[in-house]
Symmetry: C2
Subunit: 134 residues, 2 copies
Amino acid sequence: MSDLIQKCLDAGLSMTTARRAILRALENSEDHPDALMLHDRAKAYDPTIAQATVYRTMRLLEQEGLVEKHDFGNGRARYEEAEKEQHDHLINLSTGEIIEFHDTDLEALKIEIAKRLGFDLKDHRLELYGVPRE
Amino acid sequence: MSDLIQKCLDAGLSMTTARRAILRALENSEDHPDALMLHDRAKAYDPTIAQATVYRTMRLLEQEGLVEKHDFGNGRARYEEAEKEQHDHLINLSTGEIIEFHDTDLEALKIEIAKRLGFDLKDHRLELYGVPRE
DNA sequence: ACCATATTGATAATCGTTCGCAAGTAGGAA
DNA sequence: TTCCTACTTGCGAACGATTATCAATATGGT
């Protein structure tokens, strides 16, 4: 239910061995991989793929709106498939694990605050950093 | 009412010409300068100061908790004096201007969400990106 | 199958930031 | 004050993530 290859074709992108490999690697990723991780994983489908191709492709996918790029502060950008449902991230400081969450009140409040300051909200970034309770 | 030089002395840091220059530059900054901007501004007080010294000093000040480092997504880290009052940032996409705001409900909600997910909130990052209304 | 165009791999370049090192201070002891 | 030692500095090299360059290769419409 997330056929990235099909979405790329729909977007008019030509489909190459390298791209297919990256798209499969991304679809099989449950976490939020960075470019190096994606490169490693994509090698399973295309052993000769180059890092530069991964970077180029991720940039392309981001521009096409098929992928979201995040910066969780560890130097490397992290990627995930663009989802329809809005969500934010909580980073477990003990493990580095990233947890997705959604809160309607929070969404409303962000828009409300921007409005109060005289702005239309175009984008936002919310990351919570925490340690397991107790 | 924000004598950074005194705070540094209180923290046991030795006070050099270069550090004094950086601290003055920072105190006189109403915006959220990056390392390059601080370097330029510090030159007014110490014309021979090096970029590396600015980077080193900002890292030190951050470790001492006297300065906060932000990444607003433009490649360069931005700095501001650590304030007692918690605040978040709204970035005006039309001008690049950064507006600080505080919202009690929002603070509470962030803690509440972390708790609901089973975490104690240790840190967080919220940035709103908007354009002036209308 | 053919060809113009887009894409690739390999490598150099870029940009912010950090490191290594010799020379130069700060600031406490004498 | 003068000395001394550890901390700082300025400079330039090094670094890590990402992007650009470019010749060679694949794509997909014809």
